[in-house]
Structures are given as structure tokens and as C-alpha cells.
Symmetry: C2
Subunit: 304 residues, 2 copies
């Protein structure tokens, strides 16, 4: 089924204990689209870049089945740029620079061919842009997934809540779930967030896995313990891309299938962190992904 | 099979956001023994208390199949006492008082009837006491499990390493695994700890579950997301008691059975935190435990 992804396409500068990646490809929409492209080939990207963004990268997305009619290119401006450094064993990151550039003017316009999209991935952006995307859809989509973060809770609470009302799935981390709900227990937090709108609450816990809550049911997905995490940037977006990509491929939004989608998202995120930027995500194939899925199955399996 | 547990039997004073439990029953050996008693009824307790410890509590342990010939009672002294307060949503605790009392003189002597014990649980105590316990065993036990903590790594490294060499299983938390191994990645940490002796490394991650490592194999056990955690005291000891209690009951130390033991340990810990002290652990029965096991099965189950 068709999958619309809206979010940033950008440059990153990333320092980790394993090296320094200068002006590499980044952006939530980039990670999510690459990740989803292993599951479905009708992906419709909505974003904005400057004239400095390499055409070759856009071509590579095309080759993966990602339509870029909705990618606005502002020739005389620069792409969004983020620079950050990871420390304390990757558990903390410091933002060194944020240059909005073209992102300051981003007013997403959905091409006519996008307006019947059935699966919608709202990347972490201002709630206004997320709402504008939803409002341009012609047909009632099968599933809307939103990612967001604590920043929008701090600076745009009311607009955020309006978006939360309209989505089926929200993906946030544990601290964000607590902030959004005002509840400490994640069970209570999910129950509170259900009341705000989303039928499904996905709580991303990084190296501790993910939790899926829906109508009193809970699924706990493991994370793969890894020897080497080279660059955590984009892991959450890659997770979201694998998650919704698998749902779009299978066109099944049952709780059981959502569980599989969580595993595929976790699998894709586990690849993402093995190399800087989207490098690892460019090299995958079905056999490699299937083998990693089997690792997750073995990791979590027990019989009583 | 026979199970020997050595550790503290004590009084606690516990403050949490849910209340203040004054001079309640505590101690690693108490929690572990109560927990294990739901799996096996040949438990041999080794500990020390003062004349102030209630005989009724000892009688209740007897009724659960816990032999207390190895419980030294020093009539004119006081039992070990710990006071602590939990804050920041139970993630931090402050020790308010530690009175060693009888524990300062603890020199464990195994009764003759204990010396053929097959399953050995070395609770978190000085490495010297752990080693003295091992050295008094007559027969080669099936499995020795040790719990320890960062404190012993700081103050008794060499003695600790000697104990680590002799045990089959070590149970520690993620930070302790990192400190013991000098490795940040838990995969690398477990590999390093295997080299020190233990064939099995169990990493307790509290609300994030537990990991079992052995010879390149990994099992990730979920924790049950809970609405109410009233008192986390003793959860790790309760986990250890359920873990080794199940192994002693089934007398099977294969990786597959260790996985089940981890689930039973996690199940028992999930009960422990629902009430102060050992109160909840006194009220369980097989049906209640089985129902909670099924919750864990449902929580982690997925099919790809």
C-alpha cells in the first residue's frame, strides 16, 4: 500500500567515540524512507532541501521506490543542518549546531498523486506541519503514525495535542510518554495517551527495546544487545520507517501484526546504528534482514 | 533438589512515596528464601540474627520448607538494620542508616546436614563470607549462583574475583557488569565475565527486564510493565530466589531451562514490589504465580 513520509531531509555532522562524520546525509524522512524501502515501493516523500543537496542521493531514493515529487528544492538556499556529539557511551548527546535554513520556510504541499496515501508517517516536526499534512489528504487513510519529542511539548503544547487527537499511533520515548501524560508508570501513561486519541502507543526505549500498548494489551519487544554502536543518529526514525513500511506492505493493522512491525522496526534500527549516517541502510537485502529477524526471535523465545 | 541460601536476615525501615514501613522484615536471604519456597521445600538457610528477631517469622519460614539450623541467633545483640528512602519515582534510593550489629561477627558455619547441598545461592555479602560458604561444601554442587554489587568491587576486588572464579552464575545489574568487566557493551561485558569464571551471566535491568548470556547465546526477558510499584526493596533477591528455586525444583541447568528460571525470577520480583517488605511474597499460591507467568508469555510472544 502507499506510504507517505513527511519529515526532514538534511545534512548532519556527527561526532562519536568512533569518529567524526562531516556533512553526511541525515534527516528523519531520509532514515524512515530508506528503512521503509525494504518493505514497500510506493513511498511518497514530502520534505524540503536546499540547492546544496546532492541529486545523486535523491536518485538513490528513486531507485528504492521513493517518489520525490513532494520534495521541494530551494535552489538558492541551504539544506537543514544539525551537528551533534555523543558522549558518555552514547547515552548523552550534545547539539553543537542547528541551522534551520530551508526548514524555516517549510510549508508542505502534497502533490495530487499523494493525496490518497493510505499509510502516513508524520516525522518529528512542528505540530503545525504535521497537521497541514493530515489536512491535505483526500481520502481517509488506513493508519497515521506520528513521531514527536519533548521539545514540542515544551513550546507547542496545544498544537501538538490537536495532532495527537488525529493519529492512530504515536511513537515516543519513555520520558516523553511521561511528560505527555503526566504519569510516571508507562502503563498509566499509555492509558492516558489512549484517551488523547492514539489507539496504539509505541514507547521506544533504545537499548532496552520497545513497548506497544493498545486497549489493555501490552507487547514488550527486545532490543538486540550489540557489541558495537557506532552512531545512534536516526535509529528512532529508522525504527519508525521499518514499522510503518512493514504495515504498509502487509496492509494489516491488527495488534498481532503491529507486534511484527515493531520487530521489523527494531531490526532496521539495529542495522542503522552499526555505521554512520544512512550508510548501513543502503547495503541491506532481504536475506540479511531475515537473518537479523531470526536473531530477534531467538533472543526473545522461551517456552514454559 | 536441596538449595542452600546464605545472606542477610534483617530489619528494614523503608520510605517510599506510598508510605513508611518501620522495622519490617528484610534481608537478601529472607527475600530469596520466601521466593524459592514456592518451587522447592528443601531450602537450607544460613544467616545470623539478634535476639530481637521475631521467632514467629522463623516459624513461618519453617512452614515453607526452609530449614534454619544454619541461622545463628545471638541473643544479646541486635539484628542487621538498614533504613532507606526511595525518590525520583523509585529510580534512586538513599541509605539513611546501616547498623551491622550481628552481621559484623558473621562467620557462617554450615551444619553437617547442609554440606551436600546441590544448589547454592550466595546472597550479596562480603566475598570472604561467600568463599567460606563454598569451602564448607562436602560434595561438588550442581550450581553455584552469586549475587554481588559495586561496593565489593570498590573495597574487596581481589577477594571478589576469587569467588567469581568459582561460581557458575553471577547476577548483577548493568552498571555492575560494566564495572566488573571494564567493557561498556553488555555483550562484551558478558564475554569478559565468562573468562573470569561464570558460564552464565545474568544482567538485571529492573524495569527493563533481564539478560542471560552463555557461550554466545543471549536471552532477553521482559519486565512486566506495572501500574504500581510500592517498594522495590528485595526485588533482586526475590528474582534470584525464584531463579534458583525453579532450577533446584527442575534440576536442569540447560540454557533453555535457565530461560524459564529467569522468567520465574522475574515473575516473583514483579509480586515483590507490589507491597512493602515480604508481605506480598507471603500470600502467593501456584495459581497466582501461573497466571502471572502467562502474563509474561503474552507480553513477549510474537510470531513472524
Amino acid at each position: 500500500m502507499s506510504l507517505l513520509t513527511v519529515g526532514t531531509v538534511a545534512f548532519d555532522d556527527i561526532k562519536t567515540p568512533f569518529g567524526h562524520a562531516e556533512k553526511v546525509i541525515g534527516g528523519a524522512c531520509t532514515y524512515a524512507s530508506w528503512s521503509a524501502s525494504y518493505f514497500t515501493n510506493d513511498i511518497r516523500l514530502v520534505s524540503i532541501v536546499g540547492g546544496d543537496f546532492p541529486q545523486d542521493e535523491i536518485d538513490q531514493l528513486h531507485d528504492r521506490g521513493v517518489k520525490t515529487e513532494g520534495l521541494e528544492i530551494v535552489a538558492d538556499k541551504k539544506s537543514f543542518f544539525w551537528a551533534g556529539e555523543y558522549h558518555d557511551n552514547m547515552n548523552q548527546r550534545t547539539t553543537l549546531a542547528t541551522e534551520l535554513n530551508v526548514l524555516a520556510d517549510f510549508d508542505p504541499v502534497l502533490p495530487a498523486s499523494y493525496k490518497d496515501s493510505q499509510y502516513i508517517m508524520l516525522g518529528n516536526l512542528t505540530p503545525e506541519i504535521q497537521m497541514k499534512t493530515i489536512n491535505q489528504l483526500d481520502t481517509d487513510p488506513t493508519l497515521i503514525v506520528m513521531d514527536t519529542m519533548n521539545f514540542w511539548m515544551d513550546v507547542a503544547w496545544d498544537a501538538l495535542i490537536e495532532v495527537v487527537k488525529k493519529v492512530d499511533v504515536i511513537t515516543i520515548n519513555d520520558e516523553e510518554a511521561r511528560q505527555l501524560s503526566g504519569k510516571y508508570s508507562l502503563v498509566d501513561a499509555a492509558a492516558e495517551i489512549h484517551k488523547m486519541g492514539p489507539k496504539y502507543v509505541v514507547i521506544k526505549k533504545g537499548e532496552h527495546g520497545a513497548l506497544l500498548f493498545s486497549e489493555g494489551k501490552i507487547f514488550s519487544a527486545p532490543a538486540l544487545p550489540m557489541s558495537l554502536v557506532k552512531d545512534p543518529t536516526g535509529a528512532g526514525d529508522t525504527f519508525a520507517g521499518g514499522f510503518i513500511g512493514y504495515l504498509a506492505q502487509t496492509d494489516n493493522v491488527s495488534f498481532e501484526n503491529m507486534k511484527r512491525a515493531i520487530i521489523y522496526g527494531s531490526v532496521m534500527a539495529s542495522f542503522c546504528v552499526e555505521e554512520f549516517s544512512i550508510e548501513k541502510l543502503k547495503t541491506l537485502d532481504k536475506a540479511t534482514i531475515d537473518a537479523r529477524v531470526q536473531q530477534f526471535v531467538d533472543l526473545a523465545a522461551f517456552s514454559m
